[in-house]
């Protein structure tokens, strides 16, 4: 794709063109489909990455829930590049792609992402119009049916954490949820990539109680953040969302877990505040490299614990 660069922030048009080109260049490993359209009518492209052939268990990963978290879509692109480039030369990656499919949604909140490139770099929500309000947008990560609009969410359309009029009111969250529901039997892990604050979180966030899988998810998180830190010594905290940061209802990881996707995690990538949402491009490579190690660890766990 013209102008695309894995170590730069790419605008939506460039990312969309990249999804087409990486699929065209790697037909045995990558295919592109469309799971819906956004409020403003943009296509929501999904990449399926894995050795083509028989149906396999899958890991679903999305990026770009919150428009201003630019490092997140950068990671999804990086992940696909690494998977494609290392297939056939790296035994671990080859095994993962031979035995698992990875569904990658490079940008969930595409309209919001476009808006951060054109009008307001600090925009967070979707760009849908709200009834009886002049305020625009819903927080997609408060819009899922998991304790929807209770704690840590707002019913005020002007709030940055507005939960929407009903669960999955947003075309983007509905498309994502519909896809996961349609592949529920094969999707064994759900990963959602956010920024910032360097955390690896797992359910629950909408309530303080622990999941029945808490011990295992905690153990995986501990090992995954150790893997992540092994490269550049970047320190991540980990734990259930409610206990580690705060109660927040309507999040996609809680929703996926309650649907039955046991291995459900939220990454909050670099940094811890020096740059916040303005992480320089010069940190994309290191951030993605270290995150890749953690994702790879989780994927291996999923593969070995079907």
């Amino acid at each position: 794709a013209i102008g695309h660069n894995y170590e730069k922030y790419n605008n939506w048009d460039t990312i969309a063109a990249w999804t087409a080109s990486i699929a065209a260049e790697n037909p045995d490993l990558v295919s592109r489909s469309q799971i819906g359209t956004t409020y403003e009518g943009r296509p929501m492209y999904l990449l399926k990455v894995g050795k083509s052939g028989s149906s396999k268990n899958a890991v679903f990963m999305d990026c770009g829930f919150h428009a201003r978290e630019w490092i997140s879509p950068a990671f999804c692109q990086w992940f696909v590049k690494e998977a494609v480039n290392k297939y056939g030369t790296d035994n671990e990656i080859t095994s993962l792609l031979n035995n698992l499919d990875f569904y990658i949604l490079p940008v969930v909140n595409i309209d919001g992402y476009v808006y951060t490139w054109t009008n307001n770099r600090m925009w967070r929500k979707t760009r849908s119009k709200n009834a009886n309000s002049n305020c625009i947008g819903t927080d997609p990560n408060r819009n899922f049916d998991a304790g929807w609009c209770t704690v840590g969410a707002s019913n005020n359309p002007c709030s940055d954490t507005y939960c929407g009029s009903v669960p999955e009111s947003e075309k983007e969250t509905k498309a994502l949820a519909d896809f996961i529901r349609s592949k529920k039997s094969t999707i064994k892990a759900y990963l959602t990539i956010h920024s910032y604050s360097q955390m690896l979180l797992f359910p629950y966030s909408y309530k303080s109680s622990l999941t029945k899988d808490h011990a295992e998810l905690n153990s995986i998180s501990k090992a995954a953040v150790n893997q992540l830190a092994s490269l550049y010594n970047t320190k991540y905290t980990y734990g259930s969302g409610a206990a580690t940061i705060y109660l927040a209802a309507g999040g996609s990881d809680d929703w996926a877990y309650d649907l039955g996707v046991k291995y459900s995690f939220t990454f909050e990538l670099r940094d811890t505040g020096r740059y916040g949402f303005a992480l320089p491009e010069s940190q994309i490579k290191a951030t993605c490299e270290e995150t890749f190690l953690a994702v790879k660890y989780i994927a291996n766990h999923v593969l070995n614990n079907p």
Partner: protein, 94 residues
């Protein structure tokens, strides 16, 4: 609308020590346009949890003054957000 620019906008960090300071931050947010970076919203603020928030240029002095009056320590994480956003594009291959 014209694209939003961030000249002179600052990002602050405060760590409320107790409920009184939490309430102060909440009152600050109710009287000022504050963009919470961490946590996501004012309802999630609690003692000992750091709070990062962006303040628009025309309210920066007021916020600094109110924090000082209250005797709350604060850190300026980003002094001029517009400059930080320009530096974000530091890959010269562009």
């Amino acid at each position: 609308a014209e694209p939003h620019t961030f000249h002179g906008e600052k990002v602050f960090r405060v760590i409320p020590k107790n409920e009184e300071e939490v309430e102060f931050i909440k009152s600050l947010a109710s009287n000022t346009e504050i963009d919470f970076w961490f946590p996501d919203s004012v309802t999630q603020i609690r003692p000992s949890l750091h709070v990062d928030f962006r303040v628009e240029f025309h309210q920066v002095l007021d916020v600094q003054s109110l924090l000082a009056q209250k005797g709350m320590k604060y850190e300026v994480l980003i002094n001029n957000l517009e400059l930080a956003l320009e530096k974000e594009f530091d890959n010269n291959a562009r």
